[in-house]
């Protein structure tokens, strides 16, 4: 029977004049034999046809066998992390169905889908639904979810590498655990290469999956990557700190000129805006040929840019990670990466967006935003050659997501705990969930945790007489549906022209700094703020050429362990004059300055610099482990020094090292005589250090949002809703003061240990430092190494002084 499906797939390919790749054939066969599995294939390799055709034929075969006809039923779920991809996937899937005679509907349901369309999809299910993890949970939160979803036979998780490193994967795992109970489901993941491919597969299939009964298929389509550094002509005069790099704009013009289409990747949306403007200033002839693409710009505008890219109407697009994923833009010949890509995988992914003709080489230019970053270019080159790709660490024990999921089920059909518990335990994320933790979570959603008071009116999930857990309050249900998801963001405001015309969104905090009449740059235009009404920012075109650029907040990405490792090797080569790459030899003047003022650490050396300025004593340390590890290490080192004497630190970090700054003398010489880098009591010290900094507080923000503590309110709601609004900060304080052993509160610290401090990495790093020779220099002015950290304004603090004593030394800060 399987041969019918295979033949159909082959003949469809032949009709189009294509020849299936071996990995596509393999995937079809594995799907048809009833297997689940993982398809390891890069973007734009024909992976959609491999997985979709496999899924469609597997389902068709079963349908003929079972003669299960009659009403339309949802059979295949295609989960994608990005809404933008849904359009093209739908087109491809629908074409195959239509042209092979399957009378199927292929539909899309995402956050953008209008309510009327959602209702229609609910009434008449499509056979294939392309959706996001959040939308799938919204289906679970609706009435008759089981009836709707119980015929799903096949689930595909697209761009799994992207989902896997986030809590959205946990949403996926939980939803899948429900589907698996209703029917036998085949599960396939499509993923670019990650360092921990095996673990990625386990997370996808679940802890309860049969270990050896799945397929792993790798598409052997590896493109050659050519890395071209853009070297500042006068390196001495190039900024030592900074993340813009626009000084090198002129150097980019010939690159753009030479290739058919160029994609310029920036790391943030504001960089994107600034670069767009800068390129137009440098070459006004680019007007109409250059466009911008980032996540805050209106979807329609982005669609237009994407179409124009396909049709070769654009010479250049300045973008952010918003163009990392998705279908290929064939005309793209050159990629430019502005600033550090922070990881090897991301760099490779971006490089892969160019050079599509068979055998073509992907060309990626690296544009450093400060002189020292040129070393990163060499490090990337080494990592790419060796294909040193990062692991994606999966989230486990995300209680915030579990709380949300259980309420989702209670809002939908309701649930019986004894049925759900084994399902949840079957997921990778919650394999270690204990019975008592489970009961704690159930108590939390029904009784609001333990209550110390006699009269408590907590209401969320009710337990009905037959034991069904169900949300009966319509308001609670409505509030919950509005906050389903694992992406927590600041409130966003829409930007619109007075006369109509939607431009995109900005964060509330940015707009709150402006007053009407101020101008700012957005979507490549100078705009004047007219007024803010409800959730909309009304603007008109401004004639002013100046104006601030919104910055969208969002985590600063740390340098990955893979990239750090290669970076450390390159630094060591600098010290021993072994480096040969053009980008590194160009750095010679900077290297000379660093050497003259301080030192360049060899592989077996650990560099520390102590500098005195008007501000006090600065102590710099350079582990080269990425900002996350540095945050943790800085907290530990600061804590250990603060035990020697009452002292207050402000802490700054970057990917190369960290700074402890104090108004008083830092007794580092004395501290070095103690076991400053010891692994002893490390966990306790990290915890103590974290308690004294803001890190846990920031982590808790997301947890509180996902677990449904923070409620942003309905648009235009009344007073009573406002009374329910409170910041995650306040929740953090309340939990810390009254229920510090709460599972959500503990989760904040667990997540820091895994994702932020990366405890394992921190331990290894400290062990390395212990074995290294400590070199402490006292330069009389800032060195090239320390300068970027010195100028960083985002700081943590840690103190062992009494609050009253600190305040006596302080004065009123007059700006916010």
């Amino acid at each position: 029977m399987a041969d019918v499906g295979l033949a159909r797939a082959r003949s469809w390919f032949a009709k189009r004049g294509w020849k299936p790749f071996p990995f596509q054939e393999e995937t079809w066969k594995a799907c048809l034999s009833g297997k689940s599995g993982m398809l390891n294939a890069p973007t734009g390799s024909g992976k959609t046809y491999a997985a979709f055709i496999g899924a469609a034929e597997a389902v068709r075969e079963e349908l003929t066998a079972a003669t299960d006809t009659g009403r339309r039923k949802l059979r295949i779920l295609w989960i994608t992390p990005v809404r933008a991809l849904t359009k093209d996937i739908r087109r491809a899937c629908a074409a195959y169905c239509l042209e092979t005679g399957a009378d199927w509907t292929v539909a899309v349901r995402t956050g953008d889908t209008p309510t009327a369309e959602r209702n229609r999809l609910k009434k008449t299910p499509p056979e294939v639904l392309i959706t996001t993890p959040e939308s799938l949970h919204l289906i679970l939160a609706s009435k008759d979810a089981e009836a709707y979803l119980k015929h799903v036979r096949f689930v595909v998780a697209d761009e799994w590498h992207e989902l896997m490193g986030s809590k959205r994967a946990v949403l996926f795992e939980l939803a899948l655990s429900r589907l698996k109970t209703w029917a036998k489901v085949q599960v396939w993941g499509i993923s670019a290469t990650v360092g921990n491919m095996e673990e990625a597969t386990e997370v996808l299939l679940g802890a309860d999956a049969e270990k050896n009964d799945h397929a792993f298929i790798k598409a052997n389509i590896e493109k050659k990557v050519k890395i071209v550094p853009i070297i500042p002509p006068e390196i001495e005069n190039y900024p030592q700190a900074g993340h813009l790099g626009t000084k090198l704009g002129a150097q980019l013009l010939p690159v753009i000129e030479k290739s058919k289409t160029t994609l310029i990747f920036t790391n943030t949306r504001s960089q994107c805006e600034i670069w767009y403007r800068r390129l137009l200033e440098l070459n006004p002839d680019l007007a109409g040929l250059i466009a911008m693409h980032h996540g805050s710009i209106d979807r329609e505008l982005r669609d237009w840019v994407e179409d124009a890219l396909h049709e070769e109407r654009l010479k250049c697009v300045v973008c952010t990670s918003s163009l990392d994923l998705g279908v290929d833009f064939r005309p793209v010949e050159t990629i430019v990466q502005v600033g550090s890509p922070k990881g090897v995988a991301r760099f490779l992914q971006r490089a892969g967006r160019s050079g599509h003709s068979p055998g073509a080489v992907s060309t990626i230019c690296f544009l450093p935003t400060n002189s020292l970053q040129l070393i990163e270019c060499a490090a990337l080159r080494r990592a790419v050659d060796r294909r040193d790709v990062e692991d994606r660490i999966p989230y486990i024990r995300s209680f915030d997501v579990l709380v949300q999921y259980l309420v989702t089920l209670a809002v939908g059909d309701g649930f019986y705990p004894e049925k759900i518990y084994p399902e949840v335990k079957g997921t990778y994320s919650f394999a270690s969930l204990s019975e008592s933790e489970w009961i704690e979570v159930l108590t939390f959603i029904t009784k609001g945790g333990r209550s110390l008071e006699a009269y408590d009116e907590f209401r969320k999930v009710d337990v009905l007489p037959d034991g069904l857990y169900k949300v009966t309050s319509r308001r609670t249900a409505m509030r919950h549906r509005m906050s389903v998801g694992a992406i927590v963001s600041d409130p966003m405001l829409k930007v619109k022209f007075q006369k109509g015309g939607y431009l995109g969104t900005v964060e509330e905090w940015f707009i709150s700094k402006l007053t009407p009449g101020d101008s700012f740059w957005f979507a490549g235009r100078s705009l004047e703020l007219v007024r803010i009404r409800e959730m909309t920012v009304q603007v008109k075109v401004s004639k002013k050429k100046t104006g601030i650029v919104p910055s969208w907040q969002g985590g600063r990405m740390p340098l990955s362990a893979m990239l750090s490792k290669n970076l450390r090797i390159k630094i060591s080569e600098l010290a021993t004059d072994e480096a040969r790459e053009a980008e590194v030899t160009a750095l010679a003047p900077v290297v000379t300055t660093q050497r003259k003022l301080s030192h360049i650490p060899k592989d077996d050396e650990f560099l520390m610099e102590k500098i005195r300025t008007r501000e006090g004593t600065h102590l710099f340390m350079y582990p080269f482990e990425g900002r996350h590890v540095h945050e943790g290490m800085a907290a530990v080192i600061a804590l250990r020094i603060s035990r020697l004497t009452p002292i207050s630190f402000s802490i700054a970090v970057n990917d190369y090292g960290f700074e402890l700054l104090s108004d008083a003398e830092i007794p580092i010489e004395a501290a070095l005589k103690t076991d400053l880098f010891s692994a002893e009591n490390l966990t306790t010290d990290i915890q103590a250090g974290l308690n004294k900094t803001e890190m846990a507080r920031r982590r808790f923000r997301d947890i509180a949002g996902i677990a449904g503590l923070v409620f942003k309110g309905f648009p235009g709601s009344q007073q009573t809703e406002k009374h329910l609004q409170s910041s995650a900060q306040l929740f953090f304080d309340v939990f810390r003061d009254y229920e510090a052993d709460h599972f959500l509160f503990r989760q904040a610290f667990d997540e820091i240990m895994t994702f932020q401090v990366e405890e394992v990495r921190l331990r290894n790093s400290l062990a390395k430092i212990r074995a290294q020779k400590k070199v402490l220099t006292c330069p009389d002015r800032p060195t090239p190494f320390c300068f970027p950290i010195l100028t960083d304004r985002l700081r943590e603090k840690l103190t062992s002084e009494k609050l009253e004593d600190r305040i006596r030394k302080m004065t009123l800060a007059l700006e916010k």
Binding site: R479, S650, S726, L730, D737, Y738
Partner: protein, 217 residues
Amino acid sequence: MNAAEIKISLNGTTAFLLPERAVFLPRSGALLIADVHIGKAHHFRKNGIPVPSAGDADNISRLEALIARKEAREVYFLGDLFHSAPNAADRSFTEFLEKHRHIGFTLILGNHDINPLRDFSGASLRAVASEEKEGCLLTHFRTEHPRLFNLSGHVHPAVRLRGAGKQYMKVPCFRFDFKQRFGILPSFGNFTGSHVITPEKGTGVFVVAGNEVIQVS
């Protein structure tokens, strides 16, 4: 006088700023307290947001400790005593009022006190829009008056302090202006948050730091 308190003069009336985030008028033995937001945690809980309820109980025990320490004879709440509609926390508050029958309680209504008709008959809680007291005008919102010194709440003021070595700190504060004759009290409630203000220099900013009140401007 306790060393941690700060003595000030309001139109000739002696007042103490207390580290408990309250003002004490020694002549009448009156405590002035702003923005307690009783029942905030319960209000959240009632609506399915599971925040620990211990904070509500803590508000009342801190209130009791303060009354005992200052041997207060009167208590004025400068608005937002309650967070929202009546809920379970009201009961503990009623018990508190009944326990302290010898004390005169007055509530200056604030924007959150949406239910002034709460039944406290039996217990003595007088609700008024504003009150004149020892040359001061007690209100919830800041109010200008040609003669009286205005004391109000509502803002939950805090300031950012700056120290050497790029140190910053946010602390709740009493915000006074002796020329324009007004003072704003920090919020008393423990689940209330604060709002950073940027006062002009030299007007009178007193921050609450642990067990002390410290003048910073």
